[in-house]
């Protein structure tokens, strides 16, 4: 890992040391280089519920929850039109399988995984990285190419290999030490709400 400026670290994916992300802490800002793998509801249902094993190696990978807008160039070849990130909570139940069976270590998404994923992150040294949801135009400019596609029959919910540069900024929103920024913010909001309701 290298540091580009005072508060943004660069990490290249896939990582080879599967424990490398344990040192990250909630609140840190990151940018990624290398490859990021796009995955979505239907892809994970195929992998885990129907047992369709992907050919791509997911060890040390950073996944991103997405179903991109693409233009087909030829068999298995696609060009980006618009690539952004979807709500992660829907796919929460796949966290353990991805990290334990396939060696995934980072999941990029928006809105967070549920609190039940925290023990998995802690056990296996994984992190959840928050991207700015909806900011797909920016995200698309940071994706250099679509290198590989699998599960094409699930279009657009395929398994996509993207080459990225300076991808981010991403915020470590859930770390391997049991912290989730979402849990903290929601707990605060519930407390505030209780106070507001008193006024009604």
């Amino acid at each position: 890992m290298t540091r580009s400026n005072s508060d943004e670290r660069h990490i290249a994916f896939p990582i080879t040391d599967l424990d490398a992300l344990r040192e990250l802490r909630a609140g840190q800002k990151l940018r990624l280089d290398g490859t990021v793998i796009g995955i979505r509801d239907a892809t994970q249902i195929a992998i885990f519920d129907r047992g369709e094993k992907p050919r791509m190696d997911l060890r040390g990978a950073a996944l991103i929850h997405t179903a991109p807008n693409v233009r087909k160039l030829g068999p298995g070849r696609y060009e980006k039109v618009c690539i952004g990130t979807t709500t992660s909570a829907r796919m929460d139940r796949f966290t353990r399988g991805l990290m334990e069976e396939y060696g995934v270590r980072a999941i990029i998404g928006k809105g967070g995984l549920l609190a039940g994923s925290l023990p998995v992150l802690r056990e296996l040294g994984g992190v959840y990285l928050a991207i700015t949801g909806g900011a797909a135009a920016l995200e698309t400019t940071q994706i250099e190419a679509i290198e590989e596609v699998e599960f094409e029959e699930l279009m657009p919910e395929c398994l996509w290999k993207f080459r990225v540069k300076d991808f981010g900024p991403l915020i470590v929103a859930m770390d391997a030490h049991g912290r989730s920024l979402y849990e903290e913010v929601t707990a605060g909001a519930r407390e505030t709400l209780a106070g507001i309701v008193e006024r009604f």
Partner: protein
């Protein structure tokens, strides 16, 4: 409309409003996002709003989509009293325009069968696009710039992250207004980071379950900062808007003072035993685009 084929004009306008909605953020929403960036106290929140504003500029400058979710397509058709078009043909033309936008642009296809999940690949399907029809009175037409013989289309492609955060509750009179207020705020907390805050909150109040849900969506058509013309409801909008921004959910749910950009309530009279409330959230990428057509076939695009 005397032009050769007015339905071809509607078809093209439907195609364009869908694409424009995905690429241009309405000026009222942009202004609200800028205000949010100026007032945000959390550092992560400020950074996030900065990225959002940068993203809007990138999309505009490069003719790109603001957000990747091309949505479930919802249209409002508003016609003047003297509009001569057949609405069944208008509806068919809107469907064709939606399909052409999806295939010709191309746009991500999202419409699937609810059981088989088979994708139509066109963003159209059974009952899709969702269609709403309104017949505005003269005062409303003047506000919209809609001629008596004109037709106005508004497209609201609704992203799933925010549409999945939709809520309906049938309260009873004994619950009082306090229950309504609490419910709206609870919905915002339950939705948390998922609908890409800062959000716009659409509230439907009264009517029946179906009408109430439709009113919540209709509220999202109102430009930010406009108030319900009933002062009782307008006061409720102001109160809830301020309360929601005390919650601290902040941009993308990572904390901060800008949780919502605005809140609008549309209401209907309801049954003596009922008080339904529906909440429909809209993400910061509040896609909304309109086309106003006169009988001469001229089309004016707006928001």
């Amino acid at each position: 409309m005397p032009s050769p084929d007015p339905y071809a004009v509607v078809e093209e306008a439907a195609k364009q409003t869908y694409i424009r909605a995905l690429k241009l953020v309405p000026p009222d929403v942009k202004a609200a996002l800028r205000r949010a960036a100026d007032t945000e106290t959390s550092e992560t929140g400020r950074d996030t709003l900065g990225i959002i504003l940068q993203n809007i500029d990138i999309a505009e400058d490069n003719d790109m989509l603001v957000c990747q979710d091309t949505g479930t397509v919802v249209f409002w058709v508003q016609t003047g009293h003297d509009c001569a078009l057949n609405l069944a043909d208008v509806e068919a033309a809107v469907g064709r325009g939606t399909e052409r936008a999806t295939i010709e642009h191309p746009l991500r296809p999202n419409a699937v069968h609810p059981v088989t999940r088979a994708n139509t690949m066109t963003n159209t399907g059974r009952h899709l696009p969702a269609m709403h029809y309104e017949f505005p009175d003269e005062a409303e037409r003047a506000r919209l710039g809609l001629a008596a013989d004109g037709l106005r289309l508004t497209c609201l492609p609704k992203g799933s992250g925010s549409e999945n955060m939709s809520f309906l509750k049938m309260f009873v009179p004994a619950d009082g207004v306090a229950a309504v207020k609490r419910f709206v705020l609870e919905c915002i907390v339950d939705a948390g980071p998922k609908p890409c805050p800062p959000t716009i909150v659409g509230v439907g109040l009264g009517g029946t379950a179906d009408l109430c849900a439709a009113l919540a969506k209709r509220a999202l058509l109102r430009p930010l900062g406009t108030r319900n013309d009933d002062p009782v409801i307008a006061a409720l909008e102001v109160e809830l808007e301020a309360a929601a921004n005390e919650l601290g959910i902040g941009p993308m749910g990572l904390g901060g003072r800008n949780t919502i950009l605005g809140l609008a309530i549309e209401h209907a009279h309801t049954h003596i035993t009922q008080n339904p409330v529906a909440v429909n959230l809209q993400c910061w990428a509040a896609r909304r685009s309109s086309a106003t057509m006169g009988a001469d076939g001229a089309v004016e695009y707006g928001f």
